[in-house]
Amino acid sequence: MKTAINAGLALCHCCHKLQRLVKASPGERACCIRCGSGLHARLPNSIMLTWGYTLAGFIMMIPANFYPIMTVVYLGRGEPDTIMSGVMHLAQAGMYPIAILVFVASIAVPLIKLLGLTLLLLAVQRHWKLSARQCTLMYRIIEFIGRWSMLDLFMISVLVTLVDLGSIATITAGPGASAFATVVVLTILAALSFDPRLIWDREAPRND
């Protein structure tokens, strides 16, 4: 098992060109010979950036879940809904598949993403003996599901314009929706700044 970093090679993050990692002069940063992006063996500051985005994501989960995300006013009556109360209303109305879908996209996915990234970060930093293959699988799932959290926000934007019927019915977006949008952005940034190769680096010395 030979890895690129042991061979003194680096894969460009942007164009995936494999090349020798050389600096033009000390103190200067190495650049990709093909696309000119900065060349690094691993994403720079990966752990620190991922921690930052993940913790910020956890913090933003609080306003996203406690402030109302939308208000439905029907014939003059109506009250603001948070993410959770919206899911409850859907379940009470018997729309179980939609209730489950919104619950998964808006609450389960962001939480799983943030908790999963925390686990990966701790596993890398504390050298936990977790299966590298399974950690990589978890990272791929985290990377894949992240964008589906936008579901609720897109739906609100559809409803806000669709149900704009003056005194009969209106739907408006609440501050929770903006907070939730921030959570989604932060979780995507966190997943993008994590370098999965760090998971495998823990095994490298023994394999070589």
């Binding site: 890895t3 061979a7 939609i98 590298a132 936008m150 609100i156 314009t161 977006a173 929706a177 989604v184």
Partner: protein
């Protein structure tokens, strides 16, 4: 350099675990997977550039009806209101949720449009070996933007909105919805057919 150009072209490093893999003799329409972590390392596609060109051009043309024609119309107590993808964003802006309006516009309109334009121009230039400097910029932009295009998520949220609203009033599907469904499918297919590795390799073959 100790590695000859030919040898380093066949040698590839896994982007998920950094293992060096020899990709020599990969035939068209075949996939190469990393033996250590299972990541998809290369997928040579048949006629990728021409197909991406055709798909992205069709999708670009469909963008106009999909974004401007009414997606659906709701009738409630004699009042009717239609929603289009564009006025969904405008409405959010007017109600003061500028951050959410930006996110919705960014992920459902701006990035998909940019991605289609990038796919089209990259493949066009690559097809005829034009403007290598511009191609690098285009390919790099595509790499950074591809995570933020979310037409498929938007599609699902339209579906959820339809199911949620069908009990509230009389809901009619508009032409925009059908245009959007086709656009979404074309977009996913174009992204899947696009092979950035091939474009980079062609670029290199020319400039070397």
């Amino acid at each position: 350099m100790s590695l000859s150009a030919a040898a380093s072209n066949r040698l590839h490093a896994c982007h998920d675990c950094d293992l060096l893999v020899n990709l020599a003799g990969l035939s068209v329409n075949s996939r190469a997977k990393c033996p250590r972590c299972g990541a998809l390392l290369a997928h040579k596609k048949f006629d990728s550039i021409n197909r991406t060109l055709a798909l992205s051009l069709t999708a670009l043309l469909l963008f106009i009806p999909a974004a401007t024609l009414p997606v659906m119309t709701i009738k409630l107590l004699g009042h009717a209101n239609a929603n289009t993808m564009l006025n969904g964003v405008v409405q959010l802006l007017n109600s003061g949720s500028w951050w959410m309006a930006f996110m919705v516009a960014f992920c459902s309109l701006i990035v998909p449009l940019l991605l289609l334009l990038l796919l089209f121009t990259t493949c066009l230039f690559s097809r005829f070996y034009l403007f290598p400097k511009i191609q690098i910029v285009l390919l790099k932009s595509h790499h950074h933007l591809k995570h933020w295009g979310m037409l498929d998520v938007y599609m699902l949220s339209l579906l959820v909105a339809i199911i949620k609203m069908k009990d509230l009033g009389d809901l009619q599907m508009g032409t925009g919805l059908y245009a959007f469904i086709v656009l979404m499918l074309l977009m996913v297919y174009a992204q899947q057919q696009f092979d950035s590795h091939e474009c980079w390799d062609r670029l290199e073959g020319r400039s070397a």
